[in-house]
């Protein structure tokens, strides 16, 4: 098939799946640690920014069984998360793939057009490169959130020894809040990402496992909105559409 392209380098595929493992264990154990004191207020103070002060995370979402166990998992897996993240970001930088995700002028307009398409305001799928503009912004936001999570994590792991990092977030309490909120945003982005993979572009699963991607089945070629492949009349487009670049 001429439309078959190698989309993801093995470094990207490997770091993606290692990241899934690391993020799941980090988020699960982190939420178990949070449950030991499920609030951001210091004793005797209030924290109006969090309407759920004192409400723990449901235990089935947590990992590590108890505070000490979760801490051990968290402080072991953090090395995998950081090393894996450095390999990924280093690869993006030296291999030039950062161009696929770093925002550029026109992305905001393109994202707006994608939104219009998904909301049935616009009939045809906007023209795109490797990723559409909404995807791109999500894939850019994830490593940015990752960096914020790692920095705020260092800030609450070593608030005295690495006090200068804690000071970047004002103090321990706010670093802990930033750490939590950035984690929650990352999880939301990851869930949206998984939802879009299965409902819009399930063919990209192959690209993140073997690396191969069939451009003839891209969302742009299929004019695909969420669930299109389930309800669409034609699974594969017969229209002589231009094959978008990889």
């Amino acid at each position: 098939m001429a439309s078959l392209v190698k989309r993801n380098h093995w470094v990207v595929r490997l770091t993606h799946w290692v990241n899934v493992l690391a993020v799941v264990i980090m988020a699960g154990s982190g939420m178990r640690i949070f449950n030991a004191h499920p609030a951001f207020a210091r004793p005797g103070e209030r924290f109006p920014l969090n309407p759920w002060e004192g409400t723990p995370i449901p235990p089935w979402l947590t990992f590590g069984a108890w505070l000490g166990g979760a801490r051990h998992w968290h402080f072991a897996m953090m090395w995998l998360l950081v090393l894996n993240g450095l390999v990924y970001l280093g690869f993006l930088f030296f291999h030039g793939e950062w161009r696929d995700i770093v925002p550029r002028r026109g992305d905001a307009r393109d994202a707006w057009e994608m939104l219009r398409f998904y909301l049935f305001v616009r009939r045809d799928h906007p023209h795109q490169g490797k990723h559409n503009a909404l995807q791109k912004s999500a894939y850019f936001a994830m490593p940015v959130l990752g960096i914020i999570i790692v920095l705020s994590g260092l800030a609450i792991w070593k608030p005295v020894t690495l006090g200068f990092i804690t000071a970047l977030f004002v103090n321990y309490k706010w670093a802990r809040f930033v750490h939590f909120v950035a984690m929650a945003l990352l999880i939301v982005l990851a869930l949206v990402h998984v939802f879009m993979v299965f409902t819009v572009d399930p063919y990209s699963l192959r690209a993140i496992v073997t690396g191969w991607y069939d451009r003839a089945r891209s969302p742009e070629a299929r004019n695909a909105r969420p669930f299109y492949h389930l309800f669409g009349s034609a699974r594969e487009s017969t229209a002589p559409r231009e094959v978008p670049p990889a």
Binding site: I33, F34, A36, H37, A39, R42, P43, G44, E45, W66, L67, G68, G69, R71, H72, W73, F75, A76, W79, K158, P159, V160, T161, L162, G163, Y172, K173, R176, R206, V209, T210, W212
Partner: protein
């Protein structure tokens, strides 16, 4: 061809995750070994990062926790030193020292006094501010003439069998105090009277309350919470 490969990958992914899960469930010891290895590695990193010049800074205008400062203990009732039964409370400074000390509260208060407003970092995730007054552990080590064998320090209490041992570097940090005052008053029974260990450089559980003995040692001897699976180092 590609379908075969896809199926192959699906099967291998499934069996790999199955193996990982069974490694966690059926054989937790394997995971425990990995976690213990990571804990030792983390401790080396933490010790390498540790500096006596890295201090905890709390703004003079920052509010203190005051009456809201949490009160933890091991025994069912607040431990109170019974002078009638045990005689006058004394702090014993012993072990790898040339001049063992036995200090009454008055003796302790005659030593150079440090008053500092610092954070108390609990392993649970909260922090609380208080102004502590007391004597630097490093001053006690100097007064007792700790020897080269003094690589660790054990802090023992009269609250059940509570104790925690520290690495020498953290114990010698200028913000590590044997505190007898809190927020301008003598320490109350709920906060470890007559004296307790307090430092922002270790998590709360390392800061022994109801202190009775400071023992310098060539090796560490664990601690109440460390022996139950919390990190022995417990540094901030």
């Amino acid at each position: 061809m590609s379908v075969d490969r896809r199926r192959f990958l699906t099967i291998s992914a499934a069996s790999l995750s199955g193996a990982l899960l069974s490694a966690c469930n059926k054989n937790p010891e394997r995971a425990q070994k990995l976690l213990a290895l990571a804990e030792r590695g983390n401790q080396r990193v933490e010790e390498a990062l540790f500096r006596h010049t890295a201090m905890n800074h709390v703004s003079p205008s920052a509010p203190i926790a005051g009456a809201s400062f949490p009160k933890y203990r091991i025994s069912k009732t607040v431990p109170i030193w019974d002078t009638a039964a045990r005689g006058v409370w004394r702090l014993e400074v012993s072990g790898a020292v040339r001049r063992p000390l036995s200090l009454t509260l008055d003796d302790l208060m005659k030593l150079p006094r440090i008053t500092q407003k610092v954070d108390h970092f609990c392993v649970e995730g909260w922090n609380a501010r208080a102004t502590w007054s007391g004597v630097r552990v490093s001053d006690l080590a100097r007064a007792a003439q700790a020897t080269d064998d003094a690589q660790f320090v054990d802090f023992t209490s009269f609250d059940e069998d509570y104790h925690e041992s520290w690495d020498m570097a953290s114990a010698m940090h200028p913000q590590t105090l044997v505190a007898y005052g809190m927020d301008g008053y003598l320490l109350g029974p709920a906060h470890g009277a007559p004296a307790r260990l307090h430092s922002p450089v270790k998590l709360g559980y390392k800061n022994t309350k109801y202190l009775t003995r400071v023992v310098f040692m060539p090796a560490q001897n664990g601690g109440y919470w460390s022996d139950q699976g919390y990190e022995w180092y417990g540094g901030t």
